[in-house]
């Protein structure tokens, strides 16, 4: 995302290996039309994503961070997604207090078969980021 004259939205998407990464693959296999302004970082489970890392993404210039896990009740590791949910909600409050718009950090669920859902979640997040522009200071 370094090159280019127009400023590209930079959305970092953390995907868990089992559900959402497979959902992203499914979206690709189904040739869904997805806006190209996101990059996936794959982890085994959404519970692996450290809030520290999310903040580093913002520090390094990400416009938004989207964490995708398995649907509640479907976590490949039983309950990792619940932890990711709580951490993300709390981290959102920290970011909001620091002047970030609440849409900058989101968490959502995409199953392995939900290519369409992956595409729509990512597209709508990117649209929101385009609307917000790069993060400003409070």
């Amino acid at each position: 995302m370094k090159k280019g004259t127009i400023e590209r939205p930079k959305l970092v998407v953390f995907c868990c290996n089992w559900c959402s990464y497979a959902g992203a693959d499914n979206a690709g296999v189904s040739k869904m039309d997805i806006k190209p302004y996101f990059r996936i970082i794959r982890t085994m489970c959404s519970s692996r994503v450290e809030p520290d890392t999310v903040l580093e993404a913002f520090k390094k210039g990400a416009w938004g961070v989207l964490i995708l896990g398995c649907h509640p009740g479907d976590c490949h590791y039983k309950n990792g997604n619940y932890k990711a949910l709580r951490r993300t909600l709390l981290l959102k409050r920290v970011l909001e207090d620091m002047g970030y718009e609440k849409e900058r950090l989101t968490i959502d669920w995409v199953s392995a078969s939900e290519g369409e859902r992956f595409a729509s979640v990512v597209n709508s997040t990117i649209e929101k980021m385009i609307e917000l522009g790069p993060p400003k200071n409070a």
Partner: protein
């Protein structure tokens, strides 16, 4: 042979660090005999011009406490850096930003407006300006920087003496290292590499596996001094904080607030403890809780920035961003 020159300086701080030096009691006298204190605004009458006259790197070590909030502080620490062989960040504010660093939640203008215009207890609603006139005289006061910075975000720092305020044994350890010339690698924090739990008197009182049902603030509950704070639902930053403080807070029946900063492999102390606490909060019922339940639980935590980043906001990923912006402003 002349005695090594030592300087003490204070920036944005409460004065507690100065107290801590005085608290060395008789030890301070012993130290004072061995060194030549060339600058110590709180105790000795040296001026900035006296420092300027010293040759570069002639001060053996400068102990600087406080965060960097004003241009004057910035200038002074740059000057001391130039004149000193070593610089040690003294206390939490210089080390990781400290309490003044919480100001980074707001832009400078917002803060000034809040304190000088909106605050009801303030009768005189004048906002101080770097240059003003009173009784026909021009007055100059130091300009406030956009954001609070740690010492090492302003100048190169060699060593860190952590704590709010640093306990006597750690100060002595630092001083002795300098006096004996037995210096550890640059960047060393004079404290343990493990987090506070390692030395916590309550460590073995805690069940191996525990959960947090709901969070309580220290004043809301009578804490059982035989139980781990965190396992009781009282937010304790101990797991994310370096040990070495002597567990002063714990022994006074208060949870750790994080003044010793993060352990060596951690960059963002606040984000780390946030993750641990959010992971444990409501873990027993996570499989049946609705997203609304979870939101309610998370929203019950008051002032998360103040809680998790009480001492470390400027040194965190969140604080860093401000610093980068400020550097941009300066260039």
């Amino acid at each position: 042979m002349s005695k090594p020159k030592v300087a003490f300086y204070w920036c944005a701080s409460c004065g507690g660090c100065e107290e801590a030096v005085v608290d060395l009691n008789e030890d301070l006298l012993q130290v004072a005999e061995k060194v030549d204190i060339v600058f110590w605004p709180v105790a000795l009458d040296f001026k900035r011009s006296d420092v300027e006259k010293l040759s570069d790197r002639s001060i053996a070590v400068s102990f600087i406490n406080g965060a960097i909030r004003t241009r004057e502080q910035e200038e002074m620490v740059r000057l001391l850096r130039k004149k000193s062989a070593y610089v040690a960040a003294f206390g939490s504010c210089a080390h990781i930003g400290g309490i003044p660093g919480l100001g980074n939640q707001f832009a400078k203008e917002k803060l000034l407006k809040l304190i000088y215009e909106d605050l009801e207890t303030n009768d005189d609603r004048t906002v101080p300006k770097p240059l003003s006139k009173a009784d026909g005289n021009e007055l100059e006061i130091p300009e406030i920087c956009e954001y609070v910075r740690t010492l090492d975000q302003t100048i190169d720092v060699d060593y860190y003496i952590p704590g709010c305020a640093p306990p006597a044994d750690i100060i002595l350890k630092g001083l002795t290292a300098f006096l004996k010339g037995e210096l550890p690698p640059k960047g060393t924090v004079f404290a343990s590499d493990k987090s506070l739990c390692d030395t916590c008197p309550l460590r073995d009182k805690k069940p191996d596996k525990f959960s947090i049902k709901e969070l309580k603030r220290p004043h809301e509950v009578i804490h059982d001094p035989e139980k781990c704070f965190l396992s009781e639902g009282i937010i304790c930053l101990g797991p994310a904080t370096r040990s070495g403080c002597g567990e002063r807070c714990i022994n006074a029946n208060m949870p750790c607030r994080g003044c010793f900063g993060p352990s060596p492999r951690v960059y963002d102390q606040g984000a780390k403890i946030l993750s641990a606490i959010a992971s444990l909060l409501g873990i027993d019922e996570e499989e049946i809780a609705s997203e609304e339940d979870v939101s309610r639980l998370i929203d019950s935590i008051p002032d998360p920035v103040g809680l998790f980043y009480m001492y470390s906001l400027p040194a965190s990923n969140l604080g860093d961003k401000r610093r980068n912006d400020e550097q941009k402003d300066n260039s």
